[in-house]
């Protein structure tokens, strides 16, 4: 019952937040110099005043800004994300068409980096001053510091060009038709390098986080008690310590998931992965306002949902938390 009340309150707050986000994004997006008409003119290699005026009129760009905002809000409240200025296709279709690819990439990257990162961090925490632990620390810092587009291209050069194990870019080979195992395998092959590249940054974060969290937990009284009771080290670490050390990891992973759309832009660009990141980048460069706003809207919704879910998961994992709110 209490949980329901919490969720309801959170949702109400979320709705207000989303409204604010939409209005703010709308104003921000229109601040950028140039407009879709100029972009279209640019790609056409030339134009005339009449055509520019017609384009602006067709997209309602000749109306005053506040009028455009109200029209947009009206549409959003009816669930209509509008038509892309650039492709003349419904924004919802464009986003849905790309969402799957981004989720696949981001979930794959997150899963492997959280699991392996935690594992490495735990091992490093067991022997905090060992060479292994220092190696993990250095690896983390390098992985975090190296720009993702550089890492990506280097991996492509080594593992897709020099030693051609993986394809260079894209999500799937258009030559393979139908569904089934062949297609799944093909996508997995294409997914490996981008997911690996994207995950390296998270790996760095999670291994550091797991190490630090584990170290703190291992110094606690209840761990000393467990050891005194005669429990094996494996049980002490694996059962008692891990469950407590994992709490911050859940928090961070949950919060990160919400913001993952933006994090994938660089990786998606390097690998020409057809996800929301590249759609957003193209939309921004193309001043495709409805698409930009649609993606930002989705992003805001995802962040909020992720926060709510993380909160709930945390409460599940840690029974100590008072559901009256802290």
């Amino acid at each position: 019952m209490r949980v329901l009340g919490i969720v309801a309150r959170r949702l109400a707050y979320a709705a207000a937040l989303i409204l604010a986000v939409i209005v703010l994004n709308f104003l921000l997006v229109h601040l950028a110099p140039g407009d879709p008409a100029e972009v279209i003119a640019g790609e056409m290699g030339g134009t005339t005043q009449e055509i520019l005026a017609e384009i602006r009129h067709a997209y309602g760009l000749d109306k005053p800004l506040h009028e455009q905002l109200f029209i947009y809000l009206g549409r959003i409240l009816r669930g209509d994300l509008g038509q892309s200025f650039y492709y003349n296709l419904p924004v919802a279709d464009l986003i849905l068409g790309r969402l799957g690819a981004t989720l696949l990439l981001v979930v794959a990257a997150l899963v492997w980096s959280v699991v392996i990162g935690t594992f490495l961090g735990v091992i490093a925490a067991r022997r905090p001053d060992s060479p292994f632990s220092h190696f993990i620390t250095i690896l983390s810092l390098v992985g975090y510091a190296a720009p993702v587009f550089w890492t990506g291209i280097v991996l492509v050069i080594i593992f897709a060009w020099l030693i051609p194990i993986f394809p260079i870019a894209g999500m799937a080979d258009a030559g393979i038709e139908g569904g089934g195992l062949a297609k799944a395998f093909d996508i997995a092959r294409h997914l490996f390098l981008p997911a690996f590249t994207l995950g390296i940054i998270y790996l760095a974060q999670y291994s550091r986080l797991a190490r630090a969290s584990m170290l703190e937990v291992l110094g606690a009284d209840y761990i000393r008690t467990a050891r005194a009771k005669g429990l094996s080290e494996r049980v002490v670490v694996g059962k008692h310590a891990l469950r407590n050390a994992i709490l911050p990891i859940i928090t961070i992973a949950g919060l990160q998931f919400g913001g993952l759309i933006s994090g994938a832009v660089l990786v998606e660009t390097v690998f020409s992965w057809p996800g929301l990141g590249t759609l957003a980048l193209d939309a921004i460069l193309g001043r495709d306002y409805p698409t930009i706003l649609g993606i930002l809207f989705l992003s805001a919704v995802m962040v909020i949902i992720a926060n709510i879910l993380t909160d709930l998961c945390y409460r599940l994992a840690d029974p100590r938390i008072d559901t009256g709110g802290r």
Partner: protein, 531 residues
């Protein structure tokens, strides 16, 4: 040498095969060429697939596979029949009669008639940004389904080129004539076309999948089963993909580094042929209404200060060719007999002194800013930065102003908010289509990118261009454009730097690669895989 039995049998076999090959019907040879998928890689993505309302390279490559045009051109600028079996320009040049093929059908089976041609031409005339292509057309008569007569207000030799490549796709009237605004018509993303390939799938920003049109009006063709056009966000990964063989053809390859690397690959052919009609000129533009730039001597001085050879050889790795004027080198109207502006710092300094702009105590005469198009570093940014240090030598303090993306740059330049800017503008075949717009007094249009943003105005030039556009005698046209080039190069509203080094890298097993004047912006119905 004795004729052993072995040699004799070999000879007999060889003769036998030779005879058999010589006697095979053409369809058998054509059948040999059939099959295969061609993967084309591109960093450009089209908004939609209808070139009638959207110009530009991105739409042209898929658009010319999906839609057919009345004419097509070979690599020597000669027109040949395509949808039009034959054509005739009247003696006075005021009408063009086209006779269409009888067996041509749209991808949905409906026959292609002169009504569709008339509809397409008027659609392009109203919606396409290159107004000069069909501005003189007053009417298109359709006396019978196979005949179209185009009536012109004055002779218009450019019209032949305007009826090829992506400039006049024949679109179906029964689909586009339903009253919806053609620019945002849903059929633009799901086109029913008239060309050698049909659309299977259009994934915006990702790829375009085309398949062979079995009812194509040129029997036996196309040879390819499928064409896939893949969009790569990153030019480096596209170059790697071509190098590795994941992509079969990479047109509009322009980065010197990638060109030189791909040339080393023995499985690829890297050629600069196929861009003769594109005529992409990279230039330095002057805002002739701004301050010191009003003075021709100042502009000349800057042109003389620029070392074009250094730019071409050092900055662009020798991959490009120097440009000397408003018309690209491969055009039949090009002349190199103009003022050359080979680098001469002394002359530049002298001109500036003469213009009454002496050096101050710190050595500088005046300050200017320069803009450039973002995203083309070798062609734009590096030249802008080079000019900063080069112009310092003649006392000009140049500030390089960066724009984060194209629309920001376009806004500045189209509203004439610039001193100098680097720019790239294409000729598009006939000078009437892509060249006139930069120099006509009447095309100084505020807010329109790639109009006469330099505000250059010389009524004599306007008159020459007007006559050249209407002149039906080729030799006289060449002479008129020669005069135009001399004047414009002398008055220097633009300092021409180089032609964009567009190359096509393709798998060497590809037969009949697209090397006509329009390159990959032409039907790939004769392309095949060599076995």
């Amino acid at each position: 040498m004795t004729l052993t039995t072995k040699t004799l049998s070999a000879l007999i076999l060889a003769t036998g095969f030779g005879l058999a090959a010589a006697l095979s019907p053409p369809s058998a040879i054509a059948a040999e060429k059939r099959g295969g998928t061609l993967v084309i890689g591109s960093t450009q993505k089209p908004r939609h697939l209808n070139p009638a309302v959207q110009s530009g390279i991105a739409t042209a490559v898929p658009g010319t596979q999906i839609f057919a045009t009345p004419l097509r051109f070979d690599e020597n600028w000669n027109p040949s029949p395509y949808l039009a079996e034959s054509w005739e320009v009247s003696g006075d040049g005021l009408s063009v009669t086209l006779r269409l093929r009888k067996n041509a059908r749209f991808h949905d089976g409906a026959p292609i008639t002169s009504e569709d041609l008339a509809f397409s031409l008027m659609t392009v005339k109203e919606n396409h940004p290159f107004k000069a292509m069909f501005a003189p057309v007053t009417a298109v008569e359709t006396p019978d389904p196979q005949t179209a007569i185009i009536r012109l207000a004055h002779p218009h030799p450019a019209i032949l080129l305007a009826m090829s490549s992506a400039l006049l796709p024949v679109i179906p009237k029964h689909i586009y004539g339903d009253g919806q605004d053609i620019r945002s018509h849903p059929a633009n993303s799901k086109p029913v076309g008239s060309g050698p390939f049909k659309l299977v799938e259009f994934n915006p920003g990702q790829d375009i999948i085309l398949e062979r049109n079995a009812d194509y009006f040129m029997p036996g063709k196309p040879y390819l089963d499928r064409i896939i056009i893949r969009n790569y966000k990153d030019a480096t990964s596209l170059a790697l993909a071509v190098d590795k063989g994941e992509v079969d053809m990479y047109p509009f390859l322009a980065a010197a580094r990638d060109i030189n690397r791909l040339k080393k690959n023995d499985n690829l052919v890297v050629t600069s042929k196929g861009y003769a009609a594109v005529g992409p000129i990279n230039w330095l533009a002057f805002n002739t209404t701004k301050g010191v730039l009003k003075d021709k001597r100042v502009r000349k001085a800057i042109a003389y200060a620029m070392d074009r050879d250094f730019i071409v050889n050092a900055l662009q790795g020798g991959a490009s060719t120097p440009a000397t004027g408003p018309i690209a080198n491969d055009s039949p109207f090009y002349t190199g007999d103009v003022e050359r502006y080979d680098v001469d710092l002394d002359k530049a300094n002298a001109l500036l002194d003469e213009a009454g702009l002496p050096r101050a105590g710190d050595g500088s005469r005046f300050a200017l800013t320069i803009d450039y198009i973002p995203g083309l570093p070798e062609q734009q940014k590096s030249i802008a930065e080079y000019l900063r240090s080069q112009l310092k030598k003649v006392g000009i303090a140049l500030t390089v102003r960066a724009a984060p993306d194209f629309p920001t740059w376009a806004k500045r330049v189209s509203t004439h908010d610039f001193d100098l800017t680097m720019d790239v503008v294409f000729n598009w075949g006939d000078p009437v289509i892509g060249v006139h717009r930069t120099y006509l007094c009447s095309n100084i249009k505020m807010g329109v990118i790639w109009s006469n943003t330099q505000s250059y105005c010389n009524p004599k030039v306007d008159a020459i261009l007007d006559r050249a556009g209407k002149e039906t005698d080729q030799a006289k046209r060449v002479a008129l454009y020669k005069e135009f080039q001399k004047i414009v190069v002398d008055e220097v509203p633009l300092a021409y730097v180089n032609l964009l080094p567009y190359h096509t890298a393709y798998n060497k097993k590809i037969g009949n690669p697209p090397l006509s004047i329009w390159g990959a912006m032409a039907p790939l119905d004769e392309v095949y895989w060599k076995k």
